[in-house]
């Protein structure tokens, strides 16, 4: 069976390493915080100006002055800090954040990403995504493999306005884990339980590279 959104988040959480500072985007990436492996300590950064984000507050303890980049009420953990937006993006562009997880509408086989605009239909803006993808060394995209209309989101080239070029390293979808090959192409690393290579192939329109050692996501 393909993974659900929590399954995708759970798989991405395995990429966390002790001591990492991590920025999670809105949507599926936010769920990664629920699956930090035992024995590992990471600090979550939110670009609106907080390091050391904790869980959502208990009912009645919400503070309008304490939110994450998704505008959700949050809490902080011991060791947290607050800062202004310029310092926040200094952390991001200055590569002090070790891992960035974000959603996407399209990813191309050379690692381009599009996630901020559908011309004439939807213009929400890029928020911090362009700064994040232009700077982070380790970028994982969390998304569904196909759009609501069933179109592949893993393409030879993005059709939507770009957020960044040649920046995505790894993609985790409900069907599997794929890496971007330095010379172009989606390299299949792991398959979700019950998903066949044929199914994944049929839903991937960009160049797919299938090595011999594809494993199943645990």
């Amino acid at each position: 069976m393909a993974l659900d959104k929590n399954g995708i988040a759970k798989r991405i959480a395995k990429e966390l390493q002790n001591g990492y500072y991590v920025n999670l985007g809105i949507g599926i990436p936010t769920l990664v915080a629920n699956y930090v492996p035992e024995g590992i300590t990471v600090e979550f950064q939110s670009e609106n100006g907080v390091l050391g984000m904790g869980p959502f507050p208990m009912e009645g303890e919400e503070d309008a002055d304490l939110i994450n980049a998704g505008k959700q009420t949050i809490t902080t953990l011991p060791g947290a800090s607050f800062f202004d937006s310029a310092m926040s993006f200094a952390m991001i562009r200055g590569q002090h954040v070790q891992l960035t997880v974000l959603g996407a509408m399209e990813v191309s086989e050379n690692g381009d990403i599009a996630n901020w605009k559908v011309p004439g239909k939807m213009v929400k803006g890029m928020g911090g995504a362009m700064d994040l993808v232009a700077s982070a060394e380790n970028i994982i995209v969390a998304m569904m493999h196909t759009s609501r209309d069933g179109e592949s989101k893993l393409l030879p080239e993005c059709t939507l306005p770009l957020t960044g070029i040649r920046c995505v390293k790894r993609i985790v979808t409900e069907l599997g884990v794929l890496d971007i090959h330095p010379e172009g192409g989606f390299v299949l690393r792991e398959l979700a339980p019950g998903v066949t290579i044929e199914e994944l192939k049929s839903k991937t329109s960009g160049k797919l590279i299938i090595p011999d050692n594809v494993v199943q996501i645990e």
Binding site: V50, L66, A86
Partner: protein, 234 residues
């Protein structure tokens, strides 16, 4: 030097049609809600507004949008406001969307005497179109320039009569950067105290950047996305 103004109407005096005005805040967090509400009661229009977001339909900058007081909006993310999207898609409202870190740094540069800087954000995208690009150590960067701003309107938690400001939690966001950028900076605070009562070690924005300060009459501090954990039964 008296920076304290009596009320919000005195605070926004001098903001005129066609001016460029910055508003602090991220979403609805840390926005100068008293000044925005007061502006929405005036007929001042044709404004160019610089703010990370555009409020929601009936609060924050959404109030100015609804009355068509804004000609152009410079923001990084505007997804929470349907009226905004409608005005933009039919071309009633000019919009410049820029990366959030670039917006923050442009605000900082404006107040810091830096005309331009290079950032990797947006290289290879439509954000870089028409801008100078340059390679440093094998990586490509886009040149971004400072703003030209008439007024900056910010919100702080505490302030003193000398204009010093302290922000609370993530309500800090763009406020200290915009405070630096205004030719005239207006600060509305939740609590205004006499100079000397705030610890100089704790000041986020030194008073030199603030020309007008007042204690806001009322702060609704609306929450956009109230998310909570349920208490587990004891």
């Amino acid at each position: 030097m008296n920076k304290v103004v009596r009320n919000v109407d005195e605070a926004i005096r001098g903001i005129e049609p066609g001016m460029t005005v910055m508003f602090g805040g991220f979403g609805l967090c840390g926005i100068p809600e008293n000044c925005i509400a007061a502006l929405s009661k005036t007929e001042i229009n044709d404004l160019i507004c610089i703010s990370n977001n555009a409020g929601v339909d009936d609060f924050g900058l959404g109030l100015l949008l609804k009355k068509k007081q804004i000609r152009k909006m410079i923001s990084s993310y505007v997804g929470e406001n349907k009226e905004f999207e409608r005005q933009m898609l039919i071309g009633e409202l000019e919009v410049e969307l820029i990366p959030q870190g670039t917006l923050a740094e442009r605000c900082r540069a404006t107040g810091a005497g830096i005309p331009a800087f290079y950032t990797p954000a947006g290289f290879g995208t439509e954000v870089a179109e028409g801008k100078e690009t340059r390679e440093f150590n094998g990586k490509m960067y886009v040149m971004e320039q400072r703003f030209d701003v008439d007024f900056a309107v910010v919100k702080a938690w505490k302030g003193d009569t000398a204009g010093n400001l302290i922000y609370k939690a993530t309500a800090r966001n763009f406020n200290p950067l915009m405070a630096m950028a205004g030719k005239i900076t207006i600060a509305e605070v939740e609590e205004l105290v006499p100079a000397g009562e705030l610890d100089p070690n704790e000041i986020h924005t030194p008073g030199i950047f603030v020309q007008r300060i007042f204690q806001g009459e009322k702060f609704e501090k609306r929450i956009e996305q109230r998310t909570v954990q349920q208490k587990s039964p004891a």
